[in-house]
């Protein structure tokens, strides 16, 4: 059997991580990963549980052999479950574009198409590492304030790196809808971040 160039940590992890330790090692991480994508804590809990079940099942069937890292494997199973959850969420809804999504576009520009509130000065460009972390925290909080579908679109695109086509399939929208949704989401997100970053009332 071919022995790949030594990754002692990974190999050791596979062999020596006792399932009994999984909870202490990975449960919180997986839970946070899920929470970053779905708001509902109970569903996040359920998904973590399903992830553990599925992973234990694949260990039984030896499908796990040779995987790089247990944490990566657990996370990838969770990612699939998150996708399935999202697909299910949108399958049962038919959301017309204009009614449900807030129209940040109309609020941001005047009748002539000029900025109502001009984008402000956010400081150093690019921001230093500390500022990046602060901004990122504000950004994640702002993501929660977006309309559901806008937030899901942004997450699928920027957190999960999905392509347009797949996002459209999950959200059950056309690509034109998708561009409109992303445009509105970005306008709203940026404005939200700016308000907090610049400490506006």
């Amino acid at each position: 059997m071919k022995d790949p160039s030594p990754q002692p940590t990974a190999a050791a992890e596979n062999k020596d991580v006792n399932p009994a330790d999984w909870v202490d090692l990975y449960a919180d991480y997986l839970y946070r990963f899920a929470l970053m994508r779905i708001a509902d804590k109970e569903i996040a809990e359920d998904l973590v549980q399903e992830t553990f079940s599925a992973t234990l099942a694949s260990l039984k069937n030896n499908r796990f052999q040779g995987r790089a890292s247990l944490k990566t494997w657990l996370t990838s199973i969770l990612k699939h479950k998150l996708m399935d959850h999202l697909r299910g969420k949108y399958k049962h809804r038919a959301l017309p574009l204009d009614k449900i999504d807030s129209n940040q576009v109309e609020e941001s520009f005047d009748a002539r198409g000029n900025w109502q509130v001009k984008p402000g000065n956010w400081g150093a460009d690019p921001p230093d590492l500390y500022e990046q972390k602060e901004l990122a925290a504000i950004l994640m909080a702002c993501l929660e304030t977006l309309q559901e579908r806008q937030a899901d679109a942004i997450r699928l695109r920027e957190l999960d790196g999905k392509e347009t086509e797949e996002i459209c399939k999950i959200l059950l929208i056309s690509s034109t809808n998708y561009w409109v949704i992303m445009h509105r989401a970005r306008l709203a997100l940026r404005r939200c971040v700016e308000r907090q970053w610049l400490n506006e009332a």
């Binding site: 999984w22 809990e45 234990l56 520009f109 001009k118 984008p119 460009d125 790196g161 347009t164 940026r190």
Partner: protein, 92 residues
């Protein structure tokens, strides 16, 4: 020849779209021209790019540093699940 004079509103839409797909040469040139003249939109674009970068690069670090914890009851359920299913416990 009628010149295409996009408003800031148009440009904001196009900037977002350009982050999703490759626009025609003409549109890209029009955007670039507007951005040269308009510091508001120029700032807007920079900020959008920054936010995209933050989402793409900071989410892992945020996940790790998050304070959220799975509640004890859920963890207990998980431990029981693992106990039941632990493959090293199963023997012939």
């Amino acid at each position: 020849m009628k010149m295409w004079m996009p408003s800031c509103k148009d440009i904001s839409r196009l900037v977002s779209e350009s982050m999703e797909r490759r626009l025609s040469w003409r549109k890209r040139a029009g955007i670039r021209f507007h951005l040269l003249m308009c510091r508001h939109c120029s700032r807007y674009q920079k900020q959008l790019i920054l936010l995209q970068k933050l989402l793409r690069t900071q989410s892992e670090s945020l996940t790790v540093s998050s304070q959220a914890k799975l509640n004890d009851k859920a963890k207990e359920k998980l431990r029981q699940l693992v106990d039941l299913e632990d493959p090293s416990r199963k023997e012939s």
